[in-house]
């Protein structure tokens, strides 16, 4: 971003300092509701890493890798995809439709079909805002927000209407059991390693890591990725170089929507094995925090997603052990988004001054 700062400051020190600021303010919040911050941290870490917790931590991490990558890809083309929530929700509908349409004989086929459906539905839900941005100049942030809300209403309708299973609950029928994805317990069992049998983490975790690698290839090793970054850097220059804004906007958003959508493979297909109301649970928004923290780089995204996985699972433990509402985590997430996103200059501007002065002295 900035030529005045060494790379390690930009990519390492600034995220670290802003994160610490966010944690410090979170600590104040904890104090103000009459709890001990040290105790809270202990409970959270314990809850996230104990043998029963880690399987949940990695499950949440999987979601956040997908949504974080989604936001990151769009960021590279300077598009703010705030619609992960709706895209992942619709992808859940797609997964449910294909899973319920046929008695899939084996999980491997179900995984492929489910992934394709999730990507297609997620991408489709991103396509309209992308097209409207590129062709009609409608602000993509507003349109994706609207599409989140439209998706919410649509899924609400489907689950009490056409897709509702017998009974009064707003949920779809259960998917055929042969299509059930292997969990971490199953997979480690193939090698004789033990793991929590009821942990929700499943094969999608590896799908997420593969996705992260493919995003790295796309952004830094392909012509298309170069065009996306060029477009994100300067639209005018990119157009002058013969890059089509329509093409880049569409492709970036389709990839972004597909990545958000893949989250449904983890939650809808891997864990719930049916479509439930509120299956996304804010993961689409957390993707924004993950992408910001991870500096839109796949490695950073994976690390940040793990951090948010720890926070989410640790937060569940807080409620269980200390009776602190799980909303504590929402507050911490908000503070991380605030400090690493919008208040970042609070740290960056002083650091730039320090390095500018140090540079001057070095030359003198």
């Amino acid at each position: 971003m900035n030529k005045n700062l060494p790379k390690w400051v930009d990519l390492g020190l600034i995220p670290l300092l802003t994160l610490m600021l966010a944690f410090a303010v979170s600590g104040l919040v904890v104090l103000s509701i009459g709890q001990n911050p040290i105790e809270v941290v202990k409970v959270m870490i314990q809850g996230a890493f104990n043998p029963f917790g880690i399987g949940h931590t990695l499950y949440f991490t999987t979601n956040f890798i997908f949504t974080g990558l989604a936001v990151a890809v769009a960021f590279h083309a300077r598009l703010f995809n705030i619609g992960g929530e709706g895209q992942a929700g619709l992808a859940g509908v797609g997964v449910a439709l294909v899973m319920l349409s046929y008695d899939w004989p084996h999980w491997s086929i179900a995984l492929i079909v489910g992934t394709v459906a999730a990507m297609a539905f997620g991408a489709a839900w991103a396509a309209i805002p992308a097209y409207l941005q590129a062709k009609r100049g409608s602000h993509i942030v507003i349109t994706t927000i609207m599409f989140n809300l439209i998706a919410g209403a649509l899924i609400g309708y489907l689950l009490v209407g056409p897709m509702q299973a017998e009974g009064s609950l707003p949920e779809s029928a259960k998917f055929p059991s042969a299509a059930s994805l292997p969990t971490m317990y199953d997979m480690l069992g193939w090698f004789g390693i033990g793991f929590d049998k009821y942990a929700p983490v499943n094969i999608s975790f590896f799908l997420a890591l593969i996705a992260a690698f493919l995003v790295w290839v796309l952004i830094w090793k392909t012509r298309l990725g170069y065009e996306m970054r060029a477009f994100g850097h300067s639209e005018k220059a990119a157009v002058y170089a013969g890059i089509s804004p329509l093409k880049i906007t569409m492709i970036a958003m389709l990839v972004s929507g597909a990545l958000s959508g893949m989250m449904a493979v983890n939650t809808v297909q891997g864990e719930a094995e049916r479509l439930l109301l509120g299956a996304v649970e804010g993961a689409g928004f957390i993707g924004i925090a993950v992408a910001l923290m991870g500096r839109s780089h796949p490695v950073g995204v994976v690390l940040a997603a793990f951090l948010f996985g720890i926070l989410t699972q640790g937060g569940a433990e807080l409620q269980f052990t200390l009776g602190i509402p799980a909303q504590m985590i929402t507050v911490i997430q908000a503070l991380i988004i605030m400090f690493t996103g919008s208040l970042e200059n609070m740290v960056r501007i002083p650091l730039e001054k320090i390095f500018l002065n140090a540079g001057k002295r070095g030359r003198a």
């Binding site: 919040v29 103000s32 509701i33 009459g34 703010f80 705030i82 309209i128 409207l132 009609r136 100049g137 409608s138 602000h139 942030v141 507003i142 349109t143 927000i145 609207m146 599409f147 809300l149 439209i150 209403a153 649509l154 609400g156 309708y157 209407g161 928004f285 924004i288 910001l292 602190i324 509402p325 909303q327 504590m328 985590i329 929402t330 507050v331 911490i332 997430q333 908000a334 503070l335 988004i337 605030m338 996103g341 919008s342 208040l343 970042e344 200059n345 609070m346 501007i349």
Partner: protein, 338 residues
């Protein structure tokens, strides 16, 4: 048919007004911010925090001293209103600090504020009241009571006009009347005062305003204080002026986003903002009165009515029905050249 007109339509219009008021106030809040060149997708969060602060402080103020309250009787609701406005202004100032002083990303700041509000209201609510994030049920002087306008009772039996006056116009609480007053006031400020002219200019071309020797920073901060006040009123209406009579978890339920939609729908103008929010209020009223809407040709599910404001906004944004052009400098931090 006449029966439908006098009863159902009147009843629908009456609840449309009730649903429209928080949207209207939040929409006008967004109008000041965006006209001054600051995007605000954090209307939802500010409203939510205001609703909570209003509900909580009105509850404290109205409780008798023996019960650990402040025993302020009929003043309680005003304490609540003050707390709501104060809380909302605080969040608005964080947004201002991030967007104006630090020149940070305004959209991300808005997202963070929404998240923060959703979390902190439940966290503090649970700590104070131990009711799962709710505030206690508010009674009497802890809420805004409906106001019966002069002669409403006397004119009630006059055909049509009397019942419109009695059922539709009279019988709302003070924030409703204030809301419509603020529409007129906003129009006047925006188009008839020097402050309004400068504010519109700063949203279109801050460089020009700066060149004229007027502080961009001061103007934008002033606009965001007004945004805070109006979001505070909107939130206070939800917890102190509706049948909810108290704060409930996530009680804004997306109204901040509908207000944003209405702002675009109204093309950032105050009078159209009133019509847009009344329209969206009517949709909400219809949606809550009829589970499904049988139009003869097709039957619309309730969720369709719920989604209609968003769909209409996308159509407007797409420019197929008149073009919505936002203030030109919106979202861009202003960097004064040195």
């Amino acid at each position: 048919m006449l029966d439908f007109l006098t009863n159902d339509l009147l009843q629908l219009s009456d609840s449309a007004v009730r649903f429209a008021i928080p949207l209207l106030l939040a929409c006008l809040a967004g109008l000041y911010s965006e006209r001054a060149g600051i995007f605000d997708i954090g209307l939802e969060g500010k409203m939510l925090v205001a609703a909570f602060a209003g509900g909580a402080f009105s509850a404290f103020a109205g409780m008798s001293v023996a019960d650990g309250g402040w025993g302020m009787g009929g003043w309680a609701v005003w304490v609540g209103l003050g707390a709501a406005i104060f809380a909302s202004i605080m969040l608005s100032m964080i947004h201002a600090f991030a967007s104006i002083t630090l020149r940070g990303n305004q959209l991300i700041s808005g997202v963070a504020i929404n998240f923060f509000a959703a979390g902190i209201t439940v966290l503090v609510g649970q700590y104070w009241f131990k009711m799962g994030g709710q505030t206690p049920q508010l009674r009497g002087g802890q809420r805004f009571e409906p106001i019966t306008l002069p002669f409403a009772e006397a004119l009630r039996d006059v055909p049509v006009i009397g019942s419109i006056y009695y059922d539709l116009i009279s019988g709302h609480n003070i924030i409703v009347y204030l809301g419509f007053l603020i529409v007129a006031l906003t129009w006047w400020i925006l188009f008839r005062t020097r402050f309004g002219l400068r504010m519109r200019a700063v949203g279109e071309n801050p460089g020009a305003v700066d060149t004229a020797g007027i502080s961009v920073v001061k103007l934008r901060y002033s606009a965001l204080i007004i945004t805070g006040i109006l979001c505070g009123l909107a939130g206070a209406y939800l917890s102190l002026g509706t049948a909810a009579a108290g704060f409930g978890k996530d009680m804004t339920a997306g109204r901040g986003f509908i207000a944003l939609a209405a702002l675009i729908f109204a093309k950032w103008k105050p009078i159209p903002a009133m019509w847009a929010t009344l329209l969206f209020g009517m949709l909400e009223a219809i949606g809550s009165k009829y589970q499904t809407l049988d139009l003869g040709i097709i039957v619309l599910p309730g969720q369709f009515m719920q989604a209609l404001p968003y769909i209409l906004t996308v159509v407007i944004l797409a420019g197929f029905v008149g073009k919505a052009i936002p203030p030109k400098a919106g979202g861009e931090p202003y960097i004064k050249e040195r």
